[in-house]
């Protein structure tokens, strides 16, 4: 889907979030000089095209009590990584699953999953159970717990105009 200047204007206007007013799309329309109906139609299109992954509340997981945040990285043979990734990605414990490049010799891992839980003991147990269940016990893996969060803000998009 090609994005127009108007789409980028909408992206910019939405950077701070949706206005908390009974007709937020009317407020957006005023901000970008469009009609409310057009804003609604464009946002439906952006949503259908998957450019908006979802619309709603975006939580700070720590504040919900998910204090243990583990990045679990796996060394999976290249021929199997897609299949294993699909399976891990559909595990209820996993909130994100990406295939990424190894950086040998320092970094042998090519599959990255995030697992969140109440505390480290719970998360360590979840990961071990998952590895057992998926037959991955003998694959090399590491669990990197986060110790501090420095920054968590949405990326800033939309300042750029569509290409002329």
């Amino acid at each position: 889907m090609d994005l127009s200047d108007r789409d980028y204007a909408l992206v910019t206007a939405l950077c701070g979030g949706l206005p908390l007013t009974p007709r937020p799309f009317l407020a957006l329309a005023h901000a970008v000089g469009m009609e409310e109906d057009d804003v609604i139609a464009r946002l439906h299109s952006l949503s259908t095209a998957g450019i908006i992954r979802r619309l709603g509340v975006i939580v700070r997981h720590r504040e919900l009590g998910y204090r243990a945040n583990a990045m679990v990285v796996w060394d999976i043979p290249d021929h199997a990584v897609e299949d294993v990734g699909q399976r891990l990605g559909s595990c209820p414990e996993v909130t994100l699953c990406y295939r990424r490049p190894r950086r040998l010799p320092d970094w042998p891992y090519n599959l990255f999953t995030m697992v969140h839980g109440r505390d480290r003991t719970e998360v360590t147990g979840m990961i071990a159970a998952m590895a057992e269940r998926e037959g991955l016990r003998n694959h090399r893996r590491e669990t990197l717990f986060s110790t501090r969060r420095f920054k968590q803000c949405g990326a800033h998009y939309g300042q750029r105009q569509a290409a002329e």
Binding site: V11, P22, H44, A49, V57, R103, L144, F150, K151
Partner: protein, 147 residues
């Protein structure tokens, strides 16, 4: 946070209606009024339970670039390096993790070519190697949390 806040969080991580009175439409199944729902969301934002109320964008489909980067930062330079990295507006988040590679951050840029520039600038500024690990394939993005 009470039961109503939990219900809001559990039901509105996505699926917020796109229509002329979306708060009214979203409030009805929760047994709330439009005004009550807006006030609740405003307070959850003020309390820091929510980072945002709005869209979660698919960065690459917006034409931008995104990468997960890691560095091995000497312990005595950690705060100094964190400040340097976080000062880049392109750094969307940054976590310290338990590993030799102890700093993990995400670079998100609107212009795809800007990503490598930021990487080079971070390396030049800190004198440390940045391991760049852009995704090859997205296998699952859920990031939904039950309250």
């Amino acid at each position: 946070m009470d039961e109503i806040d939990r219900a809001i969080i559990n039901s509105l991580q996505g699926g917020f209606p796109i229509c002329d009175r979306p708060f009214a439409a979203a409030a009805a199944p929760l047994g709330l009024s439009e005004t009550q729902l807006m006030a609740r969301i405003e307070r959850l934002l003020a309390d820091g339970v929510l980072t945002r109320f709005g869209p979660l964008w698919h960065a690459e489909r917006l034409g931008g670039a995104l990468s997960l980067c890691a560095m091995a930062v000497p312990e005595d330079r950690f705060d100094e390096v964190a400040a340097m990295v976080n000062a880049f507006p392109e750094v969307a988040h940054n976590y310290a993790r338990d590993h030799a590679l102890n700093m993990w951050f995400v670079i998100a840029t609107e212009a795809p070519e800007r990503k490598d520039e930021v990487l080079t600038e971070v390396q030049a500024l800190t004198g440390l190697r940045v391991f760049d690990m852009p995704k090859i394939e997205e296998l699952f993005v859920g990031l939904r949390f039950e309250a």
